[in-house]
């Protein structure tokens, strides 16, 4: 859902979600997809250099989260947002995702 300003945010009330819950979900998903041990999914791990994340995996991750939290994200806007707000470590990614889910961030 988007309004005339072209930004995307959630309809309905902002969600209250614990970072720890998001962290567990993201780490479990990535460990599964990357076929790595969950112990390697440390907050300090570098997304590209250490974990080998690529753009398609990001998309897959957001597909998963959209399903989980009943959100809709325009992938192009997400991509633009990601370029302007790069994250380097897993911890930073989890922080960002948590804020998106809570509705604290506008993606445009």
């Amino acid at each position: 859902m988007s309004d005339e300003t072209g930004s995307t945010h959630f309809g309905g009330p902002t969600r209250s979600v614990e970072r720890a819950q998001v962290s567990a979900q993201v780490k479990r998903f990535l460990a599964d997809e990357l076929e790595r041990d969950i112990a390697e999914m440390r907050d300090e791990a570098h997304l590209f250099d250490d974990l080998g994340l690529d753009s398609l995996l990001f998309l897959a991750l957001f597909e998963e989260l959209q399903g989980e939290y009943e959100m809709t994200i325009d992938t192009r806007k997400l991509a633009r947002f990601g370029r302007r707000n790069p994250v380097e470590t897993l911890g930073e990614l989890i922080d960002l995702i948590t804020r998106i889910i809570r509705g604290e961030v506008t993606i445009d």
Binding site: E33, E35, L56, L57, E63
Partner: protein, 408 residues
């Protein structure tokens, strides 16, 4: 400086099974590897046949890790390349990774993935996984092979119809001679899917004879197949440095377009000219050819064209010549066929035996082939072989020479 291009490793996974030994055993024993295919209920029963892989478990060869989103074609290529790599005792060191390259011949190996992806896109209930997106590209297998083995040199996928494998080998030969790489993994790769077979059926190209019958008067069209062959190609001087054994040499290549007009006549002229050019490039005389690995695959006009070409070129009936079509046993594997035929030549030379054409009990009088070996494989010394690939657009030929022939 020895710039001949030699083959130092062979990997093959085919309807005969996994590996070189299984492939050769199938050829030598004249097995029929075409079987009934599942998932083709839309077709009349007589068309539901193909040369399919059996007993192929990628995890047996390359383990389970990292395979999750790789399509069938990629898994097949990775496994076959691994067999070839082991055969050549090739280790790819990081500092030499840019000298190693990949060339893959493939045309319809991902049709099933494309159809599946679009079906998922069009289905409202299903969420399409973006990780399946790369499988829409025919070069996905070649790309993943390089990623997996750490290969950082040239990477090309050749999609040229029937001549793809021979074109890929020629491409590799040229690249090695120009020092664009020191070692190449060159593969021919095809995977069957129900959508693909149905497509061929709708185009009227499939035959309902349930078995491929090259040169037989009952032939009515193709019977498709899947499989993968990978060769490790190097320059002769590089192989010597590595101390690896050599199977043979890719010695000459010719490729000619098929003109319009009578299909059989046009194909025949193109095949004859392609063979002449390949022999000339290799410096081989007509009477030195020990085996023609024919490209005939049960096409009503194409087989006749090839027979005409062979009768014309070998009119003097040289005593060394033998001819047969291995598609009679495994089917028409599209872009991979040429590679499977080349591997058959190398193994036949090693074992001093020519595989036969099977299923050709009633030779078409218009398709008589000189020195035709039928039904059973026969002992023969093979020093030089010629592989033919052709369709209605193009004909190509490749000359393969056995390794100790290089000593003569």
């Amino acid at each position: 400086m020895d710039d001949r291009v030699v083959i130092s490793g062979i990997g093959v996974i085919s309807p005969f099974g996994v590996g070189r030994e299984a492939f050769w055993a199938g050829l030598a024993d004249a097995r029929r590897a075409v079987s009934s295919m599942a998932g083709l209920e839309a077709l009349p029963e007589a068309y539901r046949y193909g040369g399919q892989l059996s007993d192929f478990r990628p995890e047996d060869i390359i383990g389970t890790k990292g395979l999750k989103y790789l399509n069938d074609a990629t898994r097949l290529l990775l496994c076959t390349a691994e067999l070839a790599r082991r055969d050549a005792r090739l280790e790819i060191a990081p500092d030499a990774a840019e000298d190693v390259g990949v060339v893959v011949a493939s045309s319809f190996s991902n049709v099933g993935d494309c159809v599946g992806f679009y079906e998922s896109l069009l289905s409202p209930a299903e969420r399409t996984n973006p990780l399946r997106f790369p499988n829409l590209f025919i070069n996905i297998a070649g790309g993943n092979l390089a990623i997996r083995l750490g290969i950082r040199g040239l990477n090309t996928t050749v999609t040229n119809g029937a001549t793809s494998s021979l074109d890929a080998l020629q491409y590799g030969l040229t690249a090695l001679r120009c020092a664009r790489a020191r070692v190449l993994l060159v593969g021919g790769l095809e995977v069957l899917s129900p959508a693909l077979v149905e497509g061929f059926w709708r185009a009227g190209m499939l035959g309902d004879t349930m078995a491929p019958r090259p040169f037989d008067r009952r032939r009515r069209g193709l019977i498709l197949a899947e499989g993968c062959g990978v060769l490790v190609l190097e320059r002769a001087d590089a192989v010597r440095d590595r101390g690896a054994p050599v199977y043979g040499e890719v010695a000459g290549y010719g490729s000619v377009p098929v003109e319009t007009g009578d299909e059989a006549v046009a194909a025949g002229e193109a095949i004859a000219e392609a063979m002449r050019r390949a022999l000339a490039a290799a410096g081989i005389r007509i009477d030195e050819v020990d085996w023609v690995a024919a490209g005939a695959g049960s096409s009503p006009s194409g087989d006749r064209g090839e027979a005409m070409a062979l009768r014309r070129l070998f009119a003097a009936e040289p005593h060394r010549l033998r001819t047969s079509a291995i598609k009679s046993m495994i089917g028409e594997a599209g872009a991979a066929s040429g590679m499977l035929q080349v591997i058959a030549c190398l193994l036949a030379a090693e074992h001093d035996r020519v595989p036969p054409t099977v299923n050709c009990e009633e030779e078409d009088p218009a398709c008589l082939v000189p020195a035709h070996v039928r039904d059973r494989s026969v002992p023969h010394t093979i020093r030089t072989a010629v592989v033919n690939s052709f369709d209605c657009d193009r004909a190509a030929s490749l000359v393969v020479r056995r390794s100790d022939a290089l000593l003569q």
